[in-house]
Symmetry: C2
Subunit: 146 residues, 2 copies
DNA sequence: GAAAAAATGTTGGCCCGACCAACACTAAGG
DNA sequence: CCTTAGTGTTGGTCGGGCCAACATTTTTTC
């Protein structure tokens, strides 16, 4: 494979961008067996961790646009992984709930993602993986507030 | 801002993916002043570092699909940042060359990207930045060969 | 309590970056 | 020579992310 210019290979923004491609591909290929996409995993994870939620809250939690939550929740509901019912205390709001099938799907996707982390971090030792994760986490939380 | 599920925030693939978004946005906004995109920078950088090249080679070097190189080089040529002429020794191949204006544009984008790295890595010390960059580089080179 | 502001679900569309298939043509290798 | 590989180009697809607008409902503010 031809070498990219050094201007790129030494820039964190390039490294992160290229790695995010590999990560997305690994996850996408892994999820293919489950018939799901990244958005589905995020939403299932949020429901499992925080309980039933409105679509707007799911969007904020998962960093997904409201309009895309509509579609993703619709697909999840079609396959029986979530229930979407109008919130009784709230005229407009929906209440999205994780079903037993949804929980099973989440577990399947968890296994996939665990393997993905392993493939992604490839040659790094356990310590290096922890260092990397901590550094990335610090950087991300610095950008998250706003 | 609502907290994302812990399932996500502890996964390197999530951290890298989210950070790549911030990086792309910072670069995109910075490049806006220069009227260029990411593909343009990659190509200009490769031309400056390796000299004139065919479009196919640019694509391999910059990790850009051949078909997208066509468009990007076309845009660069329109603005006078590169010359695209048929390779005299080669019937089909093009020879793309960096112009003086292109070099100036590259320098402008270099400055933008330097600021982007700074904004992106935010709170990290110089040592931590180096550690992070090294780790990311090791992981990426592990995936590059194949 | 009424008026203004914010929140929610939904539709429809746009963008970048990445990718693929096909075609015409040329170069290189058996 | 004939097959294989490389090149430029067109045209299209996809995921993820994003925005504008709308109707409707809740909350805030006066």
């Amino acid at each position: 494979m031809d070498e990219p210019p050094e201007r790129l290979t030494t820039k964190p923004s390039w490294l992160i961008g290229q790695l995010s491609l590999y990560a997305r591909r690994l996850a996408f290929d892994g999820f293919a067996a489950t018939g799901a996409r990244g958005y589905h995993y995020r939403i299932l994870a949020a429901l499992h961790e925080f309980g039933p939620a409105s679509q707007a809250e799911l969007g904020r939690r998962c960093r997904v646009d409201r309009s895309d939550v509509v579609a993703a929740v619709g697909e999840l509901a079609e396959r029986g992984f979530v229930d979407r019912t109008p919130d009784p205390d709230h005229g407009r709001r929906n209440r999205v709930t994780l079903t037993d099938d949804g929980l099973r799907q989440l577990r399947r996707m968890d296994e996939v993602l665990d393997r993905v982390q392993d493939d992604l971090l490839g040659p790094l030792s356990a310590e290096d993986r922890q260092i990397l994760t901590r550094l990335l986490g610090r950087v991300l939380t610095h950008h998250e507030p706003h």
